[in-house]
């Protein structure tokens, strides 16, 4: 018997060792440093208790980064889900070359976020302004990434352009699980398209709605690559996301311990939001 069971324990060894060294240990270290005043490169540091945490709540840069990240994440989540659901409905309708279009719409998802960001950066600074000037739209005729109040919209556009791809494919997978007989029955009952959507389609893809909302929210709360490629947090600090702040403050600003405390808070925020979202949306699934 033991000869059969022992190998199961051995099978866990490579993953457990790697996971402990490169995930658990650093996470514990991060929490440990958050109670010190370590600057990241020297040798000495002191314990400061919860001082970093108190300071976080009075720091304008931190508040600013949280405000930007949340504003960004909520807008991206909503836009991505509306657009991808519409596209998925279109791709599920009776059209020609369905697989070809599915392929095209998924394409952005396989491309590097950083490079997509650089390409859009060029479009925002050199291409869209030409259209704006030709069409006489003043908002478009300058580079919106250079404007403190508009730059975040540029990042939203790029993030949505890319994340719609994945959500569309997931919604499409959901739509294909709905039996066509249900639509035939509702057709016989004389239900309109609108009614059909809200009474059949939407309730039946509720689990896919949950997964898409959680994925889109989680991914956009972690936004980093787009920021680096488009604005580097600027103009000023108008588009600095939380992860960008932790990166720049921690590595370049000598705020190692302070940003460690920030990332502990960030972890708690993301965990709470994800759990609440799953709870809330799954309860909705069951009610229907």
């Amino acid at each position: 018997m033991n000869k059969r069971i022992a190998p199961y324990y051995w099978m866990t060894v490579p993953a457990v060792v790697l996971f402990f060294i490169f995930m658990t240990l650093p996470a514990l270290q991060g929490i440990y440093y958050s109670f010190t005043n370590y600057n990241g490169f020297g040798k000495g540091y002191d314990f400061v208790g919860f001082k970093n945490y108190f300071n976080l709540f009075q720091d304008d840069n931190v508040g600013n980064a949280y405000w930007f990240t949340f504003k960004f994440a909520i807008v991206v989540t909503i836009l991505t889900n509306i657009l991808s659901l519409l596209i998925a409905l279109g791709l599920n309708a009776k059209i020609k070359f369905r697989n070809f279009f599915r392929g095209i719409y998924f394409l952005p998802n396989i491309l590097s976020v950083l490079i997509v960001g650089y390409i859009f950066n060029y479009l925002f600074s050199n291409v869209f302004p030409i259209w704006g000037q030709n069409l006489g739209i003043s908002a478009l005729s300058t580079n919106i990434l250079g404007s403190e109040s508009l730059a975040w919209i540029g990042i939203v556009i790029v993030a949505v352009w890319q994340s719609v791809a994945l959500n569309t494919i997931l919604y499409l997978a959901g739509l294909q699980t709905i039996p066509t007989t249900l639509y035939e029955a509702s057709n016989l009952d004389g239900a309109g398209k609108w009614r059909e959507f809200w009474s059949i389609t939407f309730p039946l893809i509720a689990p896919f709605f949950t997964i898409n909302m959680v994925l889109a929210m989680k991914n956009s709360l972690m936004v980093f690559d787009q920021i680096v490629a488009l604005t580097n947090g600027g103009p000023g600090r108008a588009t600095q996301s939380i992860s960008h702040l932790i990166y720049t403050g921690g590595f370049e600003g000598g705020e190692y311990a302070y940003q460690s405390a920030n990332s502990v808070i960030y972890f708690i925020v993301i965990a709470v939001i994800s759990i609440l979202q799953i709870r809330f949306l799954q309860r909705r699934e069951m009610d229907l």
């Binding site: 000869k3 059969r4 190998p7 199961y8 099978m11 866990t12 490579p14 993953a15 457990v16 790697l18 996971f19 490169f22 995930m23 650093p26 996470a27 270290q29 991060g30 440093y33 990241g40 279109g90 791709l91 309708a93 009776k94 059209i95 697989n99 279009f101 392929g103 095209i104 394409l107 952005p108 998802n109 396989i110 590097s112 976020v113 950083l114 490079i115 997509v116 650089y118 390409i119 060029y122 479009l123 050199n126 030409i130 352009w161 997931l170 639509y183 057709n187 994925l215 972690m222 939380i242 992860s243 932790i246 990166y247 921690g250 590595f251 460690s260 990332s263 502990v264 972890f267 993301i270």
Partner: protein
């Protein structure tokens, strides 16, 4: 009823218009990469009449493309292989024992809970750790990518393995097969569909990752493709045509794979995310 079977032209038209939004940035990338500054000055949008292939040669030269491509390929391929081997193995042990033994159940939650840990929380310590282990190189990248996929992959693998009937393994045990033999000869081949999914997702995320190489790698000879684009951004500022040729070169390997394995990739991604 009949109307359902006919092509829905209004929807078709909207779908075609939608593809323009996706293809326009890609059209710009390709055309800019093939122009020279004089052609750009005439019109940014026009299809280039004379193709400047030498942009690619200069971009390859400037960014040392083949070296960074080699690095990206090594990291991606090794990560995929290591992930498939280590993650499927631990997932199998967990899936077959989590009901009877607390250790494996605990292990499952230990791994899966990491799905909620945002990368920045370990970002700062991991740099110190890899530096002290002298792993600020491709090996370090491979190990870290393998670990960061573990939470999600174990979750997906365990779900799949539990749907494989135990009877097969029991028959093998009766015939005198060892646990290892059963895993490699029976279970591992049976997991091919889910391994394909895990492999595709790992391949995409590793190849496109930028943050991890950015903080780990310091030696330019070890740069991966996204990192090269970042490092050379400043030098490109004077010449957009070279920059775009370089972007296109970095994007191309995945686009080519995608063209050939499109259906497979889409199915794989769907399966992985919905499970």
């Amino acid at each position: 009823m009949r109307s359902r079977l006919r092509t829905n032209w209004p929807v078709m038209l909207l779908i075609v218009l939608g593809t323009l939004f996706i293809l326009f940035p890609l059209y710009m990338t390709v055309t800019i990469a093939l122009k020279n500054p004089e052609q750009m000055a005439q019109s940014v949008f026009a299809i280039p009449t004379i193709l400047h292939w030498e942009n690619f040669a200069s971009a390859i030269d400037m960014t040392n493309f083949f070296q960074s491509f080699r690095n990206s390929a090594i990291v991606t391929a090794s990560t995929v292989i290591l992930t498939l081997l280590s993650n499927s193995m631990v997932a199998y042990a967990i899936a077959r024992n989590m009901e009877k033994r607390k250790f494996f159940k605990g292990l499952y939650y230990y791994f899966v809970s990491a799905m909620f840990i945002p990368f920045p929380i370990i970002m700062l310590p991991i740099v110190k750790l890899t530096a002290s282990l002298e792993m600020t190189n491709l090996l370090g990248l491979i190990l870290l990518h393998t670990v960061y996929g573990l939470a999600f992959n174990v979750f997906v693998y365990v779900g799949y393995i539990r749907s494989i009937p135990v009877a097969l393994e029991e028959a093998a045990f009766v015939d005198g097969a060892t646990t290892w033999g059963t895993f490699w000869k029976i279970i591992f081949p049976l997991m091919a569909p889910i391994s394909a999914t895990v492999g595709i997702l790992t391949c995409l995320s590793t190849y496109n990752d930028f943050l991890l190489p950015l903080i780990i790698i310091s030696d330019p000879s070890q740069y991966t493709l996204p990192l090269v684009q970042y490092v050379f951004q400043g030098q490109f500022n004077t010449d957009f045509n070279l920059a775009f040729a370089s972007y296109l070169l970095a994007l191309l390997p995945m686009i080519i794979i995608y063209l050939f394995a499109q259906k497979w990739i889409i199915n794989g991604v769907t399966q992985g995310s919905v499970k």
